[in-house]
Amino acid sequence: MNIKIINRLLSIDRRIIYILVAVVILIPIIKPLNLPVHVTKEVLGVYNEIDKLPAGSRILVVFDYEPASTPEMDPMAKAVVRHCFRKQLKVVSISYLEQARGNAQNVLNFVADEFRRQGHPLKYGEDYAYMGFKAGQSAMIMGLVHDFKGACKRDYMGNDVYSMPILKGIKTLADFPYLAELHDDSMINSWITYGYEIVGIKIGALCTAIMAPGIYANLSAGQLTGIVGGLKGGSEYEKLLGYRGVATNGMDSQTLIHFLIIIFILVGNFAYLAKERKLRKERLR
């Protein structure tokens, strides 16, 4: 191969790479590919646990992701809350990240309004409730383990939790049959340490794709029932619920960009190895 072509390949302007990335992401948004989704056992681990809860059970959904992760986490958050409302579960939510408060309110209100338009009269305080942001992280979880209402005291609107119908009979964290933790950091470790290990609550991890590989060890140890990781996990959950949402449509773009990056790696290394071979030949001469 001509050395000039190799050098041009190795020094390609990064703006061309950025434009290619943008085009590849935009194409499926304009013309969807409708690629099929295959469900994995990790996502089934979360779905099945929620699905087998009897109607009327309380489930704790923890919102712990920042606005930066909203495009990746919102689709799976909405899918899980939709699943809970479909099963007539009572959703109790809480946040340990200050910036997660807005995401929690948006997701809960969005899905609740959607169900109300479909004729389900969901009521705040009876069918779902948001305790708001609680400072203290691990210390707060320890507080919930021993006295849930005492640790919360008031919800995000200032209502007294002791008089809320949804929390009737709830004394400690152990009174929840399941906990779904939506996170983009390592808070899941605190929930496992103080939640699962002390009271044995079942936990499902719903996280960004970058966090998922790190918690397979917890899944393998039985500390988690399942993992819903990134947009892929969200698309699998949407398939289980029977609809094509933002996560499923986003997988089209993700497929193309993954393959584009693989092509970049192969072309870049091909040019690099070709140059190395040429330089070695010139040295031997």
Binding site: I12, R14, I17, Y18, V21, A22, L35, P36, V37, H38, T40, E66, P67, A68, S69, T70, P71, Q99, R101, G102, N103, Q105, N106, N109, K134, A135, G136, A139, M140, M142, G143, H146, D147, G150, A151, Y156, M157, A209, P213, G214, Y216, A217, S220, K232, M251, Q254, T255, I257, H258, F259, L260, I261, I262, F264, I265, V267, G268, N269, Y272, L273
Partner: protein, 234 residues
């Protein structure tokens, strides 16, 4: 004075550390109540840390504006954003403007408008830039210079293909159209293998290391061997 500066903090750390350890293992009264109380104390103390961080930030940007340093305009924007968000968020929800609930932090307020239409898009945009940087780095920097790099590259490509629909479709094609004996080469099977075995093994090793280091450091702090929290004099 020397007692309160040097000895008293060590006694407080020792007693509190010991009580938290006992409270974790003893589920009976009064120890199980201590953890709940400790979490309330922790929240109050962390509020003070927030005040400290706030004043430090304000001072830093104020000095930048006063001295006219490069980028002082952005400091002005920071002040404006801080004051507006703080005012609309701190004022009570019950205080209405033209009979509309626009203050406080609930849905439908100015604070949530700022969160939905300024904070979230800005944060998501900055995070999304990573996609472009990763693509550029993959082309320009990801080189098979060593055997380790080659193994990492091959694993990365298998995982990237195995986690998307085309990879699953390709795996289906391989096993159904070419040969069912190629099932062990299915991309989704290989991806699952990498995530459930080597990754778990490496992660467990890291967790054990972190746990041992945490126990060691905690014991050093509780027993007064590690005193960096007391300031530069120690």
């Amino acid at each position: 004075m020397d007692f309160f500066k040097r000895k008293f903090p060590l006694i407080v750390v020792f007693v509190c550390g010991l009580m938290m350890i006992v409270a974790y293992y003893v589920p009976h009264k009064p120890f199980n109540q201590f953890q709940g109380e400790a979490s309330n104390w922790y929240m109050i103390i962390s509020a003070f840390a927030l005040v400290l961080a706030f004043t430090s930030l304000m001072r830093s940007h104020y000095l930048k504006i006063r001295e006219g340093k490069l980028g002082w305009g952005y400091s002005m924007v920071m002040f404006l954003a801080l004051i507006v968000t703080m005012v609309v968020g701190v004022l009570p929800y019950d205080m209405t403007i033209h009979n509309k609930h626009l203050l406080g932090t609930r849905s439908g307020t100015i604070y949530m408008w700022i969160f939905d239409y300024v904070n979230t898009p800005a944060a998501a945009t900055v995070f999304s830039l990573l996609a472009f940087y990763i693509a550029s780095a993959a082309y320009r920097a990801f080189r098979v210079r060593t055997i380790d790099a080659t193994i990492m590259l091959i694993t990365a490509m298998i995982l990237m293909m195995g986690r998307v629909p085309w990879g699953e479709m390709f795996s289906e094609f391989m096993t159904k159209k070419i040969s069912p004996y190629l099932v062990f080469l299915r991309l989704d099977t290989l991806t699952s293998f990498f995530l459930n075995y080597p990754t778990v093994a490496a992660r467990r090793a890291v967790y054990i290391g972190i746990a041992l280091a945490t126990v060691s450091t905690s014991l050093r702090v509780i027993l007064g061997v590690e005193r960096t929290y007391m300031g530069s004099d120690e």
